[in-house]
Amino acid sequence: MSDTVIETSFAKDTGPAVVRAEHLGLTFPTGDGDVVALSDVNLTINKGDFVSFIGPSGCGKTTFLRTIADLEKPTSGTLTINGMSAEEARRARAYGYVFQAPALYPWRTIEKNIALPLEIMGYAPAQQAERIKRTMDLVNLSGFEKKYPWQLSGGMQQRASIARALAFDADLLLMDEPFGALDEIVRDHLNSELLKLWDRTQKTICFVTHSIPEAVYLSTKIVVMSPRPGRVTDVIESTLPRERPLDIRETPEFLAIAARVRDGLRAGHSYDGEHV
């Protein structure tokens, strides 16, 4: 069933593929035997997509994101990013990564934290200053340049880490439950800001979450995953318009997609052995 959905998504390809995974598998050897983190994942992410990965913990959504980022090596299948291997893409600095925690360096001010990737990638000081200003504007943090991370609230810290990921203009943004540790109110706010940012920058975004409303609200494409072994069970194309006010979440259209995601998650749970 899932395969047919993926076929249709292949068929509907319009833009060039940014991420293309074919029969991707990843197995971790552990003391208690092997753990299959990813099994036969087929997925294409097109330029400009906002793709959410949703599923219970252990379904491999974070592992898949880390595989795209070349933080994990797949044990089978192929994976290309912009036509390159994951490692080549990482060396070409093809993506920005936002972690679950802000991971800002406490000994650097906010602007210095955003400068970190620019320093590493060898940007000239003038260029650094210009990019810091632009990305801090983009995440609405102007005025906080000289603050240290611990002087900011959790939401502002996570915005700073998004700015850091945007600073070097990678077209692909990988976000691993970036708002998971924040409260609902801050999360709503950051979600709508993220949508605006996506609209303005035309980036491709991969977003891991375990919140159904968040996934539906943000995405053009929702990838439903399930555990043991980690695999894709459904890919849902969103019919919502690009322009999404917060109250779109009360519309029947929104609720219908949410219901389909919930069904997908439930189906994945009762899945037994039909696989391969």
Binding site: L71, Y97, P106, R108, T109, I120
Partner: protein
Amino acid sequence: MTRILPVLTILLAILLFWYAMAVHMNAPWQTTLNTRADLTEVPFTTFAQQTWAQDKPVLPAPHQVITEIWNATVALELSSKRSLAYHGWITLSATLLGFAFGTALGVLLAVAIIHNDASDRSLMPWIIASQTIPILAVAPMVVVGLGAVGLTGLVPKALISMYLSFFPVVVGMVKGLRSPENIQLDLMRTYDASPWQVFWKLRWPAAMPFLFASMKVGIAISLIGAVVAELSNASGGGLGVRLLTGSYNGQTVQIWAALFIAAGLAAILVALVGSAERLVNRRMGARA
């Protein structure tokens, strides 16, 4: 004020206790002296003052020690063999030299250990074992041994200080250089940062608080190492030598004066490292 008041109170209590103990411990000898001089019926206040003014008291009163320090530093030529400033300088220079070497060695070893599995596995257990060996106890002998090879003066003592001070630095720096979390290392990987960049932009700054904490321990034991190493050679000079000659001649006031100077040096050195630490921490935006 709320932080100083308790400390002052305790210090005052110690001072009072000290004067009382001085009376108690010096009393037998003072009684003997007074009996010899046919002094009877000495009022207690006079007796107490007598016990605080003996030539070679069992326990000198604090003001005697302070007077001795004054006489042996400010009131004396710097070059005099009896000047505590002269002896203090000898000890201090050995301490600083050993501490500088020890810190450098400790940092280098820590860098080797975190970057190479084999050196981690072979060095770390021996570095820890090296500290359970009471090298300080054989320090004077090491100095004598090195003297036989022609190494005399500052260097042998500095070597002892180095041996003692490299250990806290290695342990602290290994911890510090390994303190960045996985998420921060992953971040550097997503930037395709070189090992050199990971070291200077992440590991090194993350290790700074650990370095200074270890340096505070290191400078204190550097000084201890230098003082003990001096016990071997009575002609070499240094605070340890003052302790040794004081003990041979029963000059308790001299011993206490040397001890106070050593304590003062330790306090100043630790405070200096502490203020350097605060300076660096402030530069790095640590919480005030």
